[in-house]
């Protein structure tokens, strides 16, 4: 199989950067999932879609807008009414859903190439993300597993909190390099490591 090229390739410099002499407070990485899907239910069909998601991925979606969950390999979160992002380390998730999401339930859109997944972790993850996005990253307001759709000027982002100090940020592939550079820049004051 041909390997996918990352848009971050030339700018992803593994190692410690910025003000790291006293330790790094941020770890940046690209997670490169094999599958990123958008599932969207017709009005009234949301519950059926949620149940399909559970059947296919084993992940149960909690109630409420922006709810989500993750088991490490697979993640799911709501990002808009009736719409969910489902992510899998492995490729080919689209075919698993293609049959399961019937036209009566909704649609499946493959975005595995179109979105780039950047993970930001560490004690200052909230601090650095707050430089970009006007949303509340505090744990009570943004619990683990939950998803948010937001924007930093032209760069749309879907963000899932995948740990107390860890967020996965999905951005459009074409903007990924620019966003990565900005993220590195913004992480400099606290010291960061690229993995």
């Amino acid at each position: 199989m041909v390997e996918r090229q990352s848009p971050l390739e030339p700018v992803l410099q593994v190692g410690s950067h910025g003000n790291f002499e006293h330790g790094v407070d941020i770890i940046l990485s690209e997670t490169q999932p094999g599958s990123i899907l958008q599932l969207a239910a017709w009005p009234g069909e949301e519950k059926k879609l949620i149940s399909v998601i559970r059947t296919v991925t084993g992940l149960a979606l909690p109630d409420g807008a922006g709810g989500g969950s993750t088991d490490g390999a697979r993640s799911v979160f709501g990002f808009a009414p009736g719409k969910f992002t489902v992510v899998d380390e492995a490729e080919g998730l689209v075919s698993a859903f293609a049959g399961a999401v019937t036209p009566a339930i909704g649609t499946v859109t493959d975005l595995s190439h179109g979105r780039t997944a950047i993970r930001i972790a560490g004690p200052k993850a909230e601090w650095v993300l707050a430089k970009f996005f006007a949303i509340d990253f505090a744990l009570p307001a943004f619990p683990v597993g939950a998803g948010r759709s937001t924007v930093h000027h032209d760069v749309f982002a879907q963000i899932q909190r995948t740990g107390a100090d860890q967020f996965d940020v999905y951005v459009f592939r074409s903007f990924a390099r620019s966003f990565w550079k900005a993220l590195c820049h913004a992480s400099e004051e606290v010291g960061y490591e690229v993995q």
Partner: protein
């Protein structure tokens, strides 16, 4: 200014795109009533006070919202999904042309 998206919660106005007067009613697609079309495309209710308007949460869930906002104070008194109350809300103001 913060707009409370029914899905995403309160978000900064920078995440939203204004789509204007929410009282306008689009004629039936096949309508040949040019006055009605002109009113829909060009005429706006422009009140100093509460205004029924459409916003898109373009930097979030991308839903369109029907927002009642005071144009003198910018205070928002209600926010709902636009698709929910489509028909009823479009007619709620007197003086709207059809």
């Amino acid at each position: 200014m913060l707009i409370t998206c029914p899905y995403c919660g309160p978000r900064d106005v920078l995440e939203f795109t204004y789509q204007g007067d929410g009282n306008r009613e689009r004629p039936q697609p096949a309508s040949q009533n040019l006055d009605a079309w002109n009113a829909y495309v060009y005429d706006r209710l422009n009140p100093a006070g509460d205004h029924n308007e459409i916003w898109q949460h373009s930097g979030g869930c991308r839903s369109h919202l029907r927002v009642v906002r005071n144009t003198l104070t910018h205070e928002i008194s209600s926010t709902t999904f636009a698709r929910g109350d489509h028909k009823s809300a479009a007619r709620h103001k007197a003086g709207g042309k059809s």
